[in-house]
């Protein structure tokens, strides 16, 4: 009975560009990617993944699933660039998937029924770059999931992407605050959760206003904070001991080194769009996402 391989033999299949260094049998790559939930050590023991065995020195201690890599800032930027240039993804596409991941992780950890405020009110604080864009997408999906998001978006890039995302939120009756709540206590009273979408993995240097004041206020807030990709104000690799201490971190694509300093309750992985070839190239060792979920709980 002819299967896909027979079609290959008949010359009907045109092989797509294949990444170098892959095993002939496709089976191993599945057991690799899905191995976290299905005992990848077995695949390892079978000796099918010899080239990869060399890549992962067992001696390096890392928090989280064994072998999961935590990226440096330059690496994270390189992967991002490669997704756009080599793989031809658009920021628009990946931002939609990233924002959906964030909203989904929040829905898992903080279901609307868990809010003590009368409505499941969420404050989404959006920064001046792509992290802010992720926040806008997240806010829209939170609304669709039954939350009541409010956005604070003080510095808006005048680019169609961000203008479009802002309009989408406004047309869905998501309010945009004209000014940031002056006191942490006001935030605690009005909202059950804050989404920190201020700075992401490109952040370097000093924090410019108004974000310095915003972060100071957020540091005194007692309701949970969910940070998108990097807790804002943290060094992307070293963290910030006296900075924001979020309850949840949603690492996008792969966790960055800062995540090793994360001490909150929930660490999720999101951004389920990394092609297998790119995962292999950077030896990301991402654990398998469950089913069709766009998020994976790491801790």
């Amino acid at each position: 009975m002819p299967g896909p391989r027979a079609l290959l033999g008949l010359g009907l299949l045109v092989a797509a560009a294949r990444a170098g260094g892959r095993c002939r049998e496709r089976g191993w790559s599945w057991s690799w990617n899905r191995g976290w939930n299905r005992g990848w050590e077995r695949g390892w023991e079978r000796g099918r993944c010899l080239p990869h065995r060399a890549m992962h020195s067992p001696g390096t201690a890392r928090p989280g699933p064994a072998g999961l890599r935590f990226l440096g800032q330059e690496e994270a930027q390189a992967i991002d660039q490669e997704l756009f240039t080599e793989y031809r993804f658009s920021v628009e596409q990946l931002m939609e998937l990233a924002g959906l991941s964030c909203a989904t992780a929040i829905a898992k950890a903080y279901p609307p029924s868990s809010f003590t405020t009368s409505q499941p009110a969420v404050l989404v604080v959006c920064g001046p770059g792509n992290n802010g864009g992720d926040g806008l997408v997240c806010a829209r999906h939170l609304k669709m999931f039954g939350y009541q998001p409010t956005v604070y978006y003080p510095k808006r890039p005048s680019k169609p992407l961000f203008e479009g995302l802002t309009t989408q939120c406004k047309k869905m009756d998501i309010p945009f605050l004209p000014e940031f709540p002056a006191e942490a206590e006001f935030i605690d009273e009005l909202y059950g959760l804050v989404v920190d979408a201020i700075f992401g993995f490109s952040f370097t240097g000093a924090v410019r206003e108004p974000f310095g004041s915003i972060l100071s206020t957020l540091e005194r807030v007692t309701v949970p904070i969910a940070s998108i990709d990097i807790p804002s104000g943290w060094d992307v690799e070293k963290g910030k001991a006296d900075g924001l201490q979020p309850d949840m971190l949603i690492s996008l694509t792969a966790p960055k080194k800062a995540a090793m300093h994360f001490t909150g309750r929930y660490h999720f992985l999101g951004g389920r769009f990394v092609p297998p070839a790119l995962q292999e190239k950077y030896a990301l060792n991402l654990p398998a996402y469950p089913g069709t979920d766009c998020v994976l709980q790491l801790t």
Binding site: P4, L7, A17, E86, E92, A107, T167, K171, P275, A277
Partner: protein, 273 residues
Amino acid sequence: GPRRPPARSPRAPKSLPGVERGPGCARGLGTALSPVLSGACSQGSRAEAEAMEKELLEDYRFGRQQLIEIWGHACAVAVTKAFPLPSLPRRQPTLLVACGPAQNGAIGLVCARHLRSFDYEPTIFYPKRSPDPLHRDFTTQCEKMDIPFLSYLPTEVQLINDAYNAVVDAVLGAEGTEGTAGTEPCAAILATLRLVRIPIVSLDVPSGWAAGPGGSGDISPDVLVSLAAPKEVARRFQGRRHFLAGRFVPEELQRKFGISPREYPGSDCVVAL
């Protein structure tokens, strides 16, 4: 689960100015009607779908690529619900994704990519590629995910039946008209799809159905994934599963176009109708 707004009674779809609605529409599309009237109905429904898409793009400022990504992802999720991995009859989780030259085809490309990330093994047949740079990017993304592209579709239908667990029909969708359904290469694809024995999942509108009243020449999909709202022609659907990928539609637009609000499970982007 998430708190839902109070249920609203569904209202009949509003007529748009200039769109004639024949009596057949009120009664439900019947094949007993003259071709002109039932044609007017499917045209009317398409005009509404186009009007909604226009509003999403122009008033809500969604990006076209963003919408196609949302739809393609939702279609892939629906496919996994209709054909969960453990339930597939073949040893390999193979799927054939047939993509037409226009937007329905682009949705198929995105669907294939997400299916690949869900550990299925899609193979794409995309004979007439759109020159649109957006569609070219979607194609590259699939190629870079190591998704094979067939150079031609075997006319020997048994080869398809044996190689794949199911076919995703992303050929014509709502764009199919008397003209396009009859031209190559879509005509040949449709001819083959009519003969396959494996299940077909149609995206939005079964290819060829929008061309006119139902007939014995129509393909018979097992699964239909309606985008945003079911189209008029979906009334003829008699397959096993009908999904709606409509969670992304803002409430105000749902009200305006008379789309009944649905309860979506958890954070799912599709719901079984």
